[in-house]
Symmetry: C2
Subunit: 205 residues, 2 copies
Amino acid sequence: MEQEFSSRLLEEAVTHFSRLPGVGRKTALRLALHLLRQDESVAAGLGNAIINMRSGIRYCRVCHNISEHEVCAICASPMRDDRTVCVVESVKDVMIFENTGQYMGLYHVLGGVISPIDGIGPDKLEIDSLVERVRSGVVDEVILALSATMEGDTTNYYIYRRLEDTGVKVTQLSRGVSVGNEIEYTDEITLGRSLLNRTLFMNAD
Amino acid sequence: MEQEFSSRLLEEAVTHFSRLPGVGRKTALRLALHLLRQDESVAAGLGNAIINMRSGIRYCRVCHNISEHEVCAICASPMRDDRTVCVVESVKDVMIFENTGQYMGLYHVLGGVISPIDGIGPDKLEIDSLVERVRSGVVDEVILALSATMEGDTTNYYIYRRLEDTGVKVTQLSRGVSVGNEIEYTDEITLGRSLLNRTLFMNAD
């Protein structure tokens, strides 16, 4: 391997790059050679940004979103409605909801969904902490915003049962035809759900 | 932007990743979130490998290939035939020829090909240093191994003219049907060349 590249330093950079998801050795080599052609500050910038991100980011004590402090900026904001908690699978889903600009409540990041086939039981997810948060706090609505898959539905139902005796209102995202999608290409289950959950025409937005 | 990610450190890592060729912001975010989920040593390993590669690698004084010393391992090797120099476009092309395992001479990395449209004249390439190397050294054959494009051909011809009065033998890679390719899918110019340059059947390998 060292022979292949005639430089141990290049070999090491390629090996580390190729451990990233979706990056093979050819792409890794292309990235490394690109950085060699750039000013030294480009490589230093990328290298340090990676190291600082990993060492500096921790998880919010309340909602488990990424944070640079013990409590994240969303949980700490006085502008957010702390009575509503949206339960999501991942840090990335928080970003997706934030980018809609439509939600002013707080989040709770589960860290996945229940999936026995992958060895993920409820104890591997932030479900106990959600129940504790609801019991001890001011939350009056929990919005379940997990994937519309069997695992997501199972997790929704499990959380619903765990929250049943707290008296909190549990809601979930509406299911229906995606905006911009043609009826012809919408699956039958979604169409059935969207008929069942039809809304008054002038109420629709 | 900072708002989008709720972490300046994540934002910075994503920005730096997305400056890499072929990496958009979505991919950059995927890579950053992947590193956040891994052990801290994974991010530190990648970050330091990038920094060390860029700061530690320099270019061989003789052939301009990447090197960790003033003269690269190929030029310094007593096992290589220093009378033959293969002229290539890039550091990557050196690797490609080395991986064939068929070449025991030395290299000369031009750094590109002549391309007026991209503002690359002969003075931007390592052509003067090639002529100097041939004049002052023991080289008796220069193999032109540039791309079979108009720019490659122009550069080949320019180098040939510059070396004409040194008395060195100038050769180029053979052009013909790629091994494994069907005649039906080979272009006419290549077929014409391969007819013209046909070799004795039992000599072919």
